[in-house]
C-alpha cells in the first residue's frame, strides 16, 4: 500500500494534473510547458497558502 504524506500527495496531484492541463489547453509545445509549470505552481502554492490559512483559523 502506498502511503504518501499529505504534501507528497499534493505534489503528485499537481504534477499529473498540470501535465494534462498544459497539453490540452495550449497549442504550441513551448506554451504547453509554460502553462503546465504555471498550473503546477498555482496548485502547490495554493495548497500551502490554504494550509496556513486553515492553520490560523483552527487556532
Amino acid at each position: 500500500m502506498f502511503r504518501p504524506s499529505h504534501f507528497t500527495a499534493v505534489v503528485l496531484f499537481a504534477l499529473f494534473t498540470s501535465v494534462v492541463f498544459g497539453i490540452t489547453q495550449r497549442d504550441k509545445p513551448r506554451l504547453m510547458v509554460r502553462h503546465g509549470a504555471y498550473c503546477f505552481a498555482l496548485f502547490v502554492c495554493g495548497a500551502i497558502v490554504l494550509s496556513w490559512v486553515m492553520y490560523f483559523i483552527a487556532r
Binding site: 500500500m1 502506498f2 502511503r3 504518501p4 500527495a9 503528485l12 496531484f13 504534477l15 499529473f16 494534473t17 501535465v19 494534462v20 497539453i23 490540452t24 497549442d27
Partner: protein, 183 residues
C-alpha cells in the same frame, strides 16, 4: 505567393499578359469576370496559397470517422493522440492518467459501483471517465470497498480526477481531429 510568380515573369515573358489579366481582372472575358478562374489556373499549380492549404487540410481532416480519437482516447488514455500521430503528447497524457489511476488504487482508493446517492453518482461518472481502466479494475475487483484510512480518501479522489482528466484529453484529441485545435 504572388512575389514568386512575379519573379518568374523574368524567366517566362509569355506569362506577362496572363499575370496582368489576373492582377487587374482584364481580358477577353471582361473586367474581373473570370478572374478567379485565371487565378486558380496560374497560382494553384505553382504555389498554393495559405487559403488553399488550409482548405485542403480541413477537407482532409473531415474525412473518415471524426469521433474515433474521442472514443479511443476515452477507452485507452492517450490513444486518441496516438491515432493522430501525436506520440509525445499521447505518451505524456497516458503516463499522467495511468499514473494517477494506479496511485489511486495503490492508496486503496474506492471504485464507485453504485449511484444511490448524488455524491456517489458523481463519483461514478468521474470513474467511468477512465474507460477500460475502470472496467478492467472492476472486473479484477481492484480498489477498496470502503474508505478506511486517510490515504484511501485521497486515492478515491485520484481515481475520479484521473477519469475527468482522461475525458479532457479525449476531447482534446477530438478537437485536433476536427481542426478546432491546430495540429
Amino acid at each position: 505567393m504572388p512575389g514568386s510568380i512575379e519573379g518568374g515573369i523574368f524567366f517566362f515573358p509569355h506569362r506577362v499578359w496572363q499575370v496582368f489579366r489576373v492582377r487587374f481582372g482584364v481580358g477577353v472575358f471582361g473586367f474581373g469576370q473570370r478572374r478567379s478562374v485565371h487565378h486558380d489556373a496560374i497560382y494553384s499549380k505553382r504555389m498554393p496559397t495559405q487559403d488553399t492549404k488550409s482548405a485542403s487540410q480541413a477537407q482532409a481532416q473531415q474525412q473518415g470517422f471524426v469521433y474515433l480519437p474521442l472514443i479511443a482516447g476515452w477507452l485507452v488514455p492517450g490513444a486518441g493522440h496516438f491515432l493522430l500521430r501525436k506520440w509525445g503528447r499521447g505518451a505524456l497524457l497516458a503516463a499522467s492518467i495511468l499514473g494517477m489511476f494506479v496511485l489511486g488504487l495503490a492508496m486503496q482508493g474506492k471504485l464507485y459501483t453504485s449511484a444511490h446517492e448524488v455524491l456517489e453518482f458523481l463519483g461514478l461518472i468521474g470513474d467511468l471517465g477512465n474507460g477500460l481502466l475502470y472496467i478492467i479494475s472492476r472486473a479484477m475487483s481492484l480498489g477498496a470497498d470502503s474508505v478506511q484510512v486517510t490515504t484511501a480518501d485521497w486515492g478515491t479522489r485520484f481515481i475520479v480526477v484521473a477519469g475527468l482528466l482522461n475525458v479532457i484529453a479525449a476531447v482534446d484529441a477530438h478537437n485536433l481531429r476536427t481542426g478546432r485545435k491546430s495540429l
